[in-house]
Amino acid sequence: MKFQIDGKEKRRQKNLILQFFLFAAYGLRFNKLIKLSKH
């Protein structure tokens, strides 16, 4: 199994600083997906 909901993963999910950066990163990814979708 490549995705384990173990202690390390849980800490990652709740680390607010990391999650803030992920929020920005996924925002950019979604923006790219939206742009690709509008023809």
Partner: protein, 478 residues
Amino acid sequence: MAKILVVGAGFAGHFAAMTLSDQLKKKGLTGSNEITVISRQPKFTYIPSLIWVGIGKMQAETTQFELDKVYKKLNIGFIVGRVFEVHPDDRYVVAETQENSTLRVSYDYLIMATGPFLNFAATPGLGPDHGHTYSVCTPDHAAHTSRRYLQLVSELEKGRKADVVIGTGHGTCTCQGAAIEFLFNVHFDLEARGLRHLVNLTWLSNEPRLGDLGIDGVEAKNGEDLVTSEEIVTELFKEYQIQWEVKSHVYNITENRIEYETLEGEKKEKPFDFAMLLPPFKGQPIQYFAADGSDITEKMCNPAGFVKVDAVYGNAYPELDGPDWPKTYQSPVYENIYAAGIAFAPPGPLSLPQKSPNGTMIAPSPPRTGFTSELCGHAAALNIIDMLEGKKPAHSSSMAESAGVCVASMHNRMFGGNAMIIGVYPVARNRKNYPATSGRDLSLNAVDIGQSGAWFKKMLHHMFLYKLQGRAFWSKLP
């Protein structure tokens, strides 16, 4: 002057009307053209947030706004009514208004964006009106669900144990993502109340495997590894002690038992005290008539009542590929008719359709998220403007060339919350364009869980409601 009529004011219809208004204004064509929307509901509902209404964490009104205020601002005519006939040769529709009178509305261009008919009757005992289960498909259903859920909570507080079943109420259901969101929200809400240990929580679904979500699952790169939605959902279910039964067709529901058939043809039962099972969808009951009065509904729609568009119909699942999915959403029969959102007939399923030895179809229908519906409505609106300008429809929004963006709420909190982020490109596997990676671009796909997802879900709620109310700079928002 052209009359453009939009039937339906959900994500596809409402956004199509807004796009038409915006584009006609930008092109200086407002004065010479007229846009009208007919909707069964006077309010727009942001359906993705109804899962929170269903557990009593949000009022139904918070997900809604009055459409007529928005349409006045955007110079769009608005009629509250139910369209039940379309006469494409004579270019008019017949609607029943709120006052039970019959109204004939003419058009030059028509966008059918009626959304689904919730087919609770497909399974005896399904649904809140004539059955024993609950739903979060409409604001009324979600509010009704929350009342029963909170009643269950008060029973649990007295020490009672309960069986809770969440999932799909038929073998051909769609929108498994919404049901799984409700499941996770129930889990976390019960856990926060200290009642989770009293509940036997079960996911009962028609998906071919866990994490399929009606879109044949999602796989994404996680560093060097490939992580799949199946792995993530399986891990989560194990951790949260949620039981599951997939590949199931619910065929009957009594007051406290769900009867279902598995893909192996085995008949099983599951007891329940509270069940939220989504219904299958079919097209709205609308008939189409030719100039001679003959019924041409079968020519216009597929057997489920969804409007046929520029898709390639008839290919079996293994042969179905990206180019088969519709691009312009134009009817092949009448070039001035378009269908968008749930209303258009897809060329086939996204998930593997299967049949039990008894001949029962267990085949999830393709879901269309708010974003996908918006894209369809947007393309249909722009294609009508192309035609107004004397051009051929050139705008495309194929599900095989556009992204699916889904944030599945698990625990709605600003801090200590959680949600699953799913980005998939394209929604419909396109093996022609991405032959090496099973039809998807793995560098663009995303599957993750975390607090950032909960922030996203909250942001999408506010952003969509802001944008769809036509507030300042709405057209600049993604």
